[in-house]
């Protein structure tokens, strides 16, 4: 019974759906004043039902499978994408003592699951039988290969500092001191996160003006809904990773609770959105250059810094 609740309610399906609806609405409402617009307005308080209606509309619309595609590949990949994107939530310590799978390899499992996702997206593009989608798929894979290197190295820095891959232990050992030591790692993680989640300035794989939303081009109805759900579940996994690894997860001022965890995730979302409103897209070549010339070497330096800090401040611990 407990497993069922965890799979379907928290941190499973219902939680992900709720998160998607609320975050989607929040993104739209937050972007609107930056654009000098109003955003969703008419349905519900401050237009909050709008996303619910949009998503339910997408769910009930016909899902068109174009001629000439492999229908199994085309329709299976969105479901697979959602499942894989939801799995990392099982390894995250959401509040004190609450983690679905408490394992010594929690961090490893999480980054591996985050790393599989782009490959699934590549296959959706590959299966669409459309030149723009294929180009989008190629861009996804190119970008993830170059961004994941620094993403993984940044994500591993707390593990190196505390000497464990267990997420619960990492959160329990975190302190103000470790936050300061891990701060460069957090910055690297955040930049790599933009690349991994295809957010500006790295929204190259779904550049609508260049390759017509890339891998999303042929998708409609339920399948499109699935891909969007996967995208937002992926947001959740990556934000939760950032909050747990660098910002002390549920630990907060005064009391420890899931509330603080949520606020931390929201803060990262706000940073991402603000960048989205102010930065144009860069090109694939510039992204590759940035990644391999700056991100990867700096990540290596960061690892060296973590080892040094560990020797200086955490000896005997």
């Amino acid at each position: 019974m407990e497993t069922m609740i965890q799979a379907f309610v928290f941190p499973g399906l219902v939680y992900v759906l709720l998160w998607t609806v609320l975050l989607f609405w929040f993104f739209r409402k937050f972007m609107a004043p930056l654009h000098k617009r109003v955003g969703p307005h008419f349905n519900g308080p401050a237009g909050s039902y709008q996303t619910l209606f949009d998503l339910s509309k997408l769910l009930t619309k016909e899902s068109i499978t174009p001629d000439g595609v492999n229908p199994y590949l085309f329709s299976m990949m969105p479901i697979l994408a959602v499942i894989i994107a939801m799995l990392p939530a099982a390894f995250v310590p959401w509040s004190d003592g609450f983690v679905v799978v408490n394992t010594e390899y929690g961090l490893l499992a999480m980054i591996v699951l985050i790393g599989i996702e782009p490959f699934v997206l590549f296959l959706t593009g590959f299966g669409s039988n459309n030149k723009y989608s294929f180009l989008g798929g190629v861009r996804v894979i190119t970008q993830s290969i170059s961004m994941e290197t620094s993403f993984f190295m940044a994500a591993l820095s707390p593990a190196l500092l505390f000497g464990t891959l267990n997420m619960t232990t990492i959160v329990e050992s975190s302190s103000w001191l470790s936050f300061i030591i891990l701060f460069p790692g957090f910055v690297l993680y955040f930049i790599a996160l933009l690349g991994l989640l295809e957010q500006p300035p790295f929204n190259i794989p779904d550049a609508e003006q260049e390759i017509v939303y890339g891998l999303y081009t042929e998708y409609s109805g339920t399948n499109y809904f699935m891909l969007k759900l996967a995208e937002f579940a992926e947001f959740m996994a990556v934000f939760a990773g950032a909050a747990a690894l660098f910002l002390g997860a549920y630990k907060g001022i005064g009391f420890d609770s899931y509330f603080w965890f949520f606020m931390k995730m929201l803060a990262i979302a706000i940073m991402m959105m603000t960048l989205r409103a102010a930065t144009p897209r860069i090109t694939l070549k510039q992204m590759l250059h940035f990644s391999w010339h700056y991100m990867v070497p700096i990540s290596l330096v960061n690892v060296a810094w973590i080892m040094l800090a560990k020797a200086l401040f955490f000896t005997g611990a």
């Binding site: 617009r37 929204n203 609508e208 017509v212 897209r281 090109t283």
Partner: protein, 547 residues
Amino acid sequence: MQKIKDILTNFETEYVEDYKKVWIKTKLTKSSDLLGVAEALKAEGLRSLSTVSPTDFIDDGVMEMNYFFEDLISKRNLWLKCDIPRETELCKIDSLTPLFPSANWHERESFSMFGVVFENHPDLRPIIVSEDFIGKAPFRKDFDWLKHEEDSLKNMQLIVDAFKEEQATNEINLDPDSSETVLNWGPTHPASGPIRLKVHCDGEEVISVDPDIGYVWRALEHLVTQKDFVGAIVAVERLCFMDNINSMTGYCMAVEEIADVEITEFAKWMRVLLGEVARVSSHFMGLGGFFNNMGLHTLGMWNMDTREFFLDFLESYSGARIATAAIEPGGVRYGLDMTMLDELQKAIEKFDGNIGEVEAIFVKNPTMKLRAKNVGIITADEVLEFGLSGIVARGSGVKTDIRIDEPYAAYEQIDMEYITRDAGASQDRFVMLFEDLKQSVKIIKQAKKHIEDEVASGAFNPTKDHMVKMPKKLPKGEAISRVEWARGEVLMHLVTEEKAKSPYRLKMRAPSFNHTMMLDYLLKGKTLSDIPLIFGSLYICQGDLDR
């Protein structure tokens, strides 16, 4: 100017005369001299061919060819005419494309619309017209539009079949060992508008680009001949709805010249005022579009916000926000209620309040510079060669602006200057657009102040001075007029018959035509990411591309 006349003495001409301040008008006796004259003119410095405009005189049995040569540097221009027979088999003339690359598409257009065959043209394919019009020369006076429309189902089938056949074969013809593919960038692409670029690419790299235009062809140049002189303005303003005022101004100037009517000083100032408001509204869209093409919609939204205030003024004046139909032969359509200028004052205040923010965040945006600094570079030489104009020409350091070169309306009394940038890259065209926008607002302020002062002193009567009486029928004649449109130079060539109630022929030379010609040249060897950026920076409007 004397040197051009000297050149012309070497050839047989019917007449050589001065026309306006910066033009010489001449007619060659023999069309076979054309190539020789063109060569001499090019050596003299008239390096741009603005456009080629055939006029079909069906009663005389001749096709009169009009060539407009321009020298963007020293502002000397030549209007060259020559007659060729109008029978389909004999309707031939030497192509000027090998000498003047800017003639390329203009000659293709004449070929599609009038059936004029240009000998030695490197690429004489039909352009603009859809498959059902190919080989039929729709702009000839003996073309039966009604009969053509009767078979509209069959015509549509022709278009569909041709497209399907092209899609089925376009990649079969490519080298099977290469990974080259053909992408249809448009006409239903998020950033393209109604134009199709056939992009040959190898992965991300662009090999060549072949623009396919004509998706919004409305045959405006034919449409105006079906209307009277006043009714024609609604066709002329649809050149591009972003800046409709200035295209109407150009047309009205040509009509007034043939009718020999001088409009009032007040109407001239109103044309400046309205024209600059329209330019501002167009530039706002252009600036926003540039950033939209890089995936950032914030500037577009901000600009929309400010632009609404300028459209409010147009609405209070003419009743319409976009298609205003506010300029008419003989002046401007409506009198001015001075309270309307309060709307304009609001818009100017809004503009002044926002422009600093826009400059700090977007014009100096480091990521934009990273993207746009080194792509789409056009040198000053290429500007002359390809006959580019407007912000594209000025972004490459060529000092050309019709408002100063050949002042019309009240621009003579306006205090303005050439704004140029040197590097000619996409970024420079964007900054150029921004600077041009600021200058436009300055001109609006000047014009507004002048109108207010003159009305206060009693020199202008804003409710009565806006129109002078125009004759119902126009004499036989022809005229050209040039205006600095938001996107570049618009040249109108108007021909009328005796006792004319409607234009006999109107040629509209629109700047986007030349700018689109550059796409293949600019995009070769670049990546797919650069297509929307360069396309956006050329400030192309599909409306005036197809007409």
